[in-house]
Amino acid sequence: MIRGHLQPVAVVDTAPAAPSGPARRWLARAVACLGIMLAMALASMGPALAHASLVRTDPGDGEVTGTAPARFVLTFNESVTPLVLRVIRPDGTAFDLLRQARQGRAIDVEAPKDLGIGTHVLSWRVVSEDGHPVSGAIVFSIGAPSVNTMRTAGDVGDGPVRFAIWATKLGLFIGMFVGIGGAFYRAWISRPERHGLRVIAGAIILGFVAALFSIGLQGLDALGLPFSGRIHRMAWAAGVDSSQGRTAIVVAAALIAAFISLGTPRVSACRALSLVALLAIGAALTMSGHASTAHPQWLMRSAVFLHSVGIAFWTGALTPLFAQLVAESPDAAMSLRRFSRAILFVLVPLVAAGIVLAVVQVQHASALWTTDYGRVLLIKLGLLAAVAGLAAYNRWRLTPQVEHATPGAARRLARVIAVEMVLVLAVLSVVALWRFTPPPRALAAAASEPAYVHIHGPKAMADLTITPGRAGPVEAVITIAAGDFGPLKAKEVTLILTDPVAGIGPLRRPARRSDDGSWRVEGLVMPIAGHWSVRIVILISDFEQVTLEDTIGIRP
């Protein structure tokens, strides 16, 4: 045994031709170098060559904790040096924990004291001893996963733009309801006379200017430009292209028709023009706005039409009626009688349409006080109750008195109508605020709208749908197909999400195959909004996988 071991050494010793001089020195150097290399290589092998992998975390990934954790502990299979360690709060702000973190098998740091309710991310990046960096993130929630509430009005322009949009909206309302409605009253209810003519003409001009302005403002809003006194040509073009822009154009045309009707002596022409203008209001308002985009569209659009035409008829009558009463026009009593008879037929569809609109838009009664849209509606209803009270008093108390020519009745009626006009103006100012408040129906629809991305590669393609497409608890569904749209059988599908901007390291989730052939990731929580990098790894066979990459936008 011993002899066998020693033999090779003896062979070297008795080598017949030992290298001489420089050759021997060169050989010695080479051997020394090899020796150093070997030692280094051996030293760097074994555990040092291993990948660091995360073995355990506290809190666990996806965990919902009752109270804020006092510490964060990440345990690896080997000693690691932390490079990045931070916790990202539900609002997207980050708290750096790296300073506390020490090298070792476990990274154990004290959690910040001010962690609130909601979903947090602990994002980490470490380097193992072989210099290979590894990163990842764990998502945990305190109390419950965050369900961020959507901003209700924040998505419309800056302050001056918003005020200008509101003012033009009010101007449009006055033009339509006081102007066109007044022109219709003059043509159909009273005789074309001078009373209230100036106010009606003024309202029409105001509405026309507002209509033109609103086109440019819509453009500014659509392009997200600030209001600097001048509206750029691009904004005008964008405004004309928007649905509100088209509404404004139709309204402007209707205002012109109504204005012409004011100066037309022939009754038939006057009536035709004002009727067209009145119907055009209804048509214009069905072309844009929250209500007209709701389903069922035939119902909603009809409701918008009836509601707006009814308002124009009612509101339009107030100005000329007031002027007739104040001027003690001999026609006042006759006009009043005709209006009183007609208003009942207008009021029923007006109110019915209003109820339909409100029910569809608000959906749940609680939205009346929990959303801005609902609050605006409540204020409007409060004002309307006062208007309705005055109108009823006018209709059943004062109107008969005026018809019987009771002394002082006309003046009393005029005074009440004046109050009614002020209240109607207040209603219109409040309603103009709806431009900034998406109705609860739209909010709910927007909230549940999924985020979607289609990724097409030469070998495979995938559709990724994240529902809802916003920060908070979500479900991800992946459908896969071969690159030529044929079916693709996969052994495994893995979803990997990274937010490079917020520095949230890869969230890696295996997908489970469901019965309909799609792959689902359940219990996923998107910690924050932003553009997330998506990687979908499809394992086709043991040795073949396809990776598809793209980004997906997650809303707040």
Binding site: M37, L49, V55, N77, L539, D542, F543, E544, Q545
Partner: protein, 178 residues
């Protein structure tokens, strides 16, 4: 001068060669270059298990254009091959045409703890159908105790390096025939 020649230069050369030593946390090939139309000794180096679990099996997919596969048996491991038809047919040392052969090699039943290192060897022939200047990848599936699996099967895109991937397949650069 003599100090430079005797000590610094050799040390520098030595240091450079150490830096050039591929130190990798991945399953990799020991020899990273080989000429086409010649034989190649593929040494698969397994530096660690799967997330701490011991390696109990290693399966290697033989890429198209690689024939004459002869794996080296390992004590303590069961060696098996999967044979099948190749996509093309290849001439083997100008003697015969080959259109089927080993497509997969599997070592199984062993136990390589996470803390230890081992090598798995096979002799192959790189046919002249392979294009010099390109990379040739051998996808590897590493099977570990407890059902864990690490797949070294990512084939890097032409404009990217293996380092850009988490689990690249071990590869070698093909050189022109000698």
């Amino acid at each position: 001068m003599s100090v430079y020649r005797r000590i610094i230069a050799p040390l520098g050369a030595c240091a450079l060669s150490i830096l050039a030593l591929p130190v990798s946390a991945h399953v990799s090939l020991e020899t990273r270059e080989a000429a086409v139309a010649g034989s190649y000794k593929a040494v698969f180096r397994v530096p660690h298990g799967c997330k701490g679990a011991a390696t109990i099996g290693l399966r290697v997919k033989i890429p198209e254009g690689v024939i004459g596969v002869k794996p080296m048996p390992k004590p303590g491991w069961t060696l098996a091959t999967v044979k099948g038809k190749y996509a093309g047919s290849y001439s083997y040392y100008h003697r015969s045409t080959v259109s089927e052969g080993v497509t997969e090699v599997a070592w199984s039943g062993g136990a390589l703890p996470d803390d230890f290192y081992d090598e798995f060897v096979m002799q192959v022939y790189l046919t002249d159908s392979l294009k010099p200047g390109t990379m040739l990848y051998f996808p590897v599936v590493q099977e570990c105790a407890g059902g864990a699996v690490d797949r070294w099967i990512e084939i890097p895109a032409e404009d990217r390096k293996a380092d850009d991937y988490e689990a690249p397949a071990p590869g070698l650069k093909l050189l022109p025939r000698k």
